[in-house]
């Protein structure tokens, strides 16, 4: 992967150490930051360092981590909690899983640091039950750290105590939303709460709670060990540090990358990702998971940071990055993501429960060739009202894929509505195949491969597709050796 260098902070130990060995972690300076904090820093110092580092939440919204910690520290309570959001649920995103599987102790150490900073002695990692390996390695890590006295009572002989346990998510996407996650831990239904009060004031069991995601925590120990000034050398003024992205879709090199904030999208996709597969043309990159938007080619030089992505109608999200090429229909992509969020909506508030369903119906109509000009208008209006009125982050961002594709790929929508045509050739109701008489040799391959038996013609005679029976699978197009079959 020439040309673009990655900078590994969160992933510093992934692919380096044996994640099931605490000695490996300790040998790479593991738990040194915790010891440093306990023996040489006050809780205020720790909060101050995190604040000055400018670290922002890596789970999606980009809220300054230090301010969260400071609020939780200032909240008066006998009991406080440290939570880790490891309920990574965006389709195609696996940053947190990699950290948990490759370097579980980095999360444990950071949570203990947070406990020390805010005055909490209990922590819970909310991890998806669908991540069995992560669960296993986390449990091994917790046991090892507890055995060594790096978790539990009187850590390293000090007066600071901090214990950790796992809680398994049962697969609801909305439980990645922090207040839903807390309801879930409490044994309730995964549904968001009204904010304020924020978790740092009244969170789990209504006690002050600091909640960060896996990647955020993975940055903490290096910041404490190396200082905030060191961290600020990476990234941009407003978004210091690095960000891990899960690069997927139509690029040559899919995988996990960690780059400094401010790296242009193009460097990731064309550099690290090695460009688009099969020599096709880049169309868009979808960032921010189901809540994000699609970014077209003309914005490929945008530096990646929280603000730039939002200005493009997308968002940082947790770091999913799905690359699309010219064969992807943007209306269909919007429909795919909205189907996901509509299904995963908890159903609590009206705009998300009913609004997203109606929005999806509009997209359905468009992809089936039944859309109207009015549908395009309503898509935008209704989408923005849902964003404006939904209760939690899921609903407030669920229309993003639809709104952003409408913004950047309006001509594709118009083609569906006006010409009843899907330019990418992916909406089944809007595509058709025909055989060019001057190119057909009558070899019969297409007829033999048609699963619907809808191609007729005898040997050495021009073949014909029965459009009524055609199921638009495209098998004939693939099999024809004479380029005699075309879309249209």
């Amino acid at each position: 992967m020439s040309g673009v260098s990655q900078t590994r902070i969160a992933l510093r130990n992934c692919g380096v150490i044996d994640p099931e060995s605490i000695n490996d972690y300790i040998a790479t300076d593991g738990y040194d930051a915790l010891a440093k904090a306990i023996f040489t820093l006050t809780p205020d110092d720790v909060v101050d360092i995190v604040k000055k580092s400018g670290l922002r939440g890596r789970g999606g919204a980009g809220f300054p981590t230090g301010i969260k910690w400071e609020t939780a520290k200032k909240s008066q309570s006998d009991v406080k909690y440290v939570l880790c959001n490891a309920d990574e649920g965006d389709p195609g995103a696996f940053m947190d899983r990699s950290v948990l599987e490759g370097d579980p102790h980095s999360v444990l150490e950071a949570m203990a640091l947070c406990g020390y900073a805010i005055g909490a002695s209990q922590g819970i990692i909310y991890v998806r039950a669908e991540y069995p390996l992560a669960v296993k390695r986390l449990q091994i890590a917790i046991d090892q750290a507890t055995d060594l006295g790096l978790l539990g009572e009187n850590i390293l002989g000090s007066s600071f105590s901090f214990s950790l346990r796992l809680y398994f998510g049962a697969g609801a996407f909305v439980c990645g939303e922090e207040t839903s996650l807390m309801n879930s831990v409490q044994g309730g239904r995964g549904e968001p709460r009204i904010k304020p009060p924020f978790p740092a004031v009244a969170g789990l069991w209504n006690k002050p709670t600091n909640i960060n995601n896996v990647e955020t925590y993975a940055n903490i120990a290096p910041i404490i060990r190396n200082g905030w000034e060191w961290f600020r050398k990476f990234g941009t003024e407003k978004s210091p540090g690095t960000k891990v992205f899960a690069l997927a879709g139509k690029v040559n090199n899919v995988g996990l990358v960690e780059v400094p904030m401010g790296t242009p999208l193009r460097s990731i996709i064309e550099g690290i990702g090695g460009g688009i597969r099969n020599g096709r043309r880049y169309k868009a990159v979808q960032t921010g998971g189901p809540s994000g938007g699609c970014i077209p080619a003309e914005h490929l030089d945008t530096p990646i940071d929280y603000e730039s992505l939002i200005s493009l109608g997308s968002m940082m999200g947790s770091g999913g990055m799905i690359v699309m090429d010219e064969d992807d229909c943007m209306v269909n992509i919007a429909k795919f993501y909205l189907t996901f969020t509509a299904e995963e909506s908890c159903g609590k508030c009206t705009p998300c429960r009913i609004g997203n369903k109606r929005l999806l119906e509009i997209l359905d109509r468009i992809t089936e060739g039944e859309g109207t000009d009015n549908d395009l208008e309503e898509l935008d209006i209704l989408g923005n009202i849902i964003k404006d009125t939904a209760l939690c982050g899921l609903g407030q961002s669920s229309p993003n894929p639809a709104i952003s594709t409408l913004r950047f790929f309006r001509d594709e929508y118009t083609a569906h509505v006006k010409d009843k045509r899907c330019p990418a050739g992916s909406c089944k109701k809007l595509i058709g195949f025909k055989i060019l008489a001057d190119k057909c040799t009558g070899c019969t391959v297409c007829a033999r491969n048609c699963p619907a038996n809808c191609i007729s013609g005898s040997i050495k005679k021009v073949h014909v597709i029965d459009q009524e029976k055609c199921i638009k699978c495209g098998a004939c197009l693939e099999k024809c050796r004479f380029k005699a079959i075309v879309r249209g």
Partner: protein, 128 residues
């Protein structure tokens, strides 16, 4: 294991660990074969590759070689991946490792001492 009761004990433990872990101290004469065994690697067949490496090493009677599992290298497209770590030399990363590639790594890289060039991925990993 007794609990570490001070920062000094942690520091001592760190020094003790360095020779015992998969991370090689500069004077080590061990070779470490690290296999990417995150879910992605396992799904691509990393566990089978690790087993092949193990049996090849045993068959050839090689000593001072340990095989460890590590996390995700980030290059999902190239899984399964194997890394050869030798003290004093840059790590060599192999991608798209099949059973026959694994056998070649043992035969050519470990025994004969020359990397299996056709399967080497050039990766810069910068640890700040």
């Amino acid at each position: 294991m007794p609990k570490l009761a001070s920062w000094d004990e942690l520091k001592q433990h760190r020094e003790d660990s360095k020779s015992r872990t998969s991370l090689l101290s500069p004077d080590s004469n061990r070779i470490v074969l690290a296999v990417g065994e995150a879910t992605c690697g396992i799904a691509a067949g990393a566990k089978e590759i690790a087993a092949v490496l193990q049996s090849e090493i045993e068959n050839k009677g090689l000593e001072n070689i340990s095989i460890i599992a590590t996390g995700c290298y980030g290059m999902c497209y190239a899984e399964p991946m194997v890394e050869v770590r030798e003290a004093g030399k840059p790590s060599v990363y192999y991608g798209y490792v099949t059973e026959s590639v694994a056998k070649s790594i043992v035969a050519r890289h470990l025994v004969a001492g020359s990397p299996v060039e056709e399967n080497v991925l050039h990766v810069e990993v910068q640890i700040p």
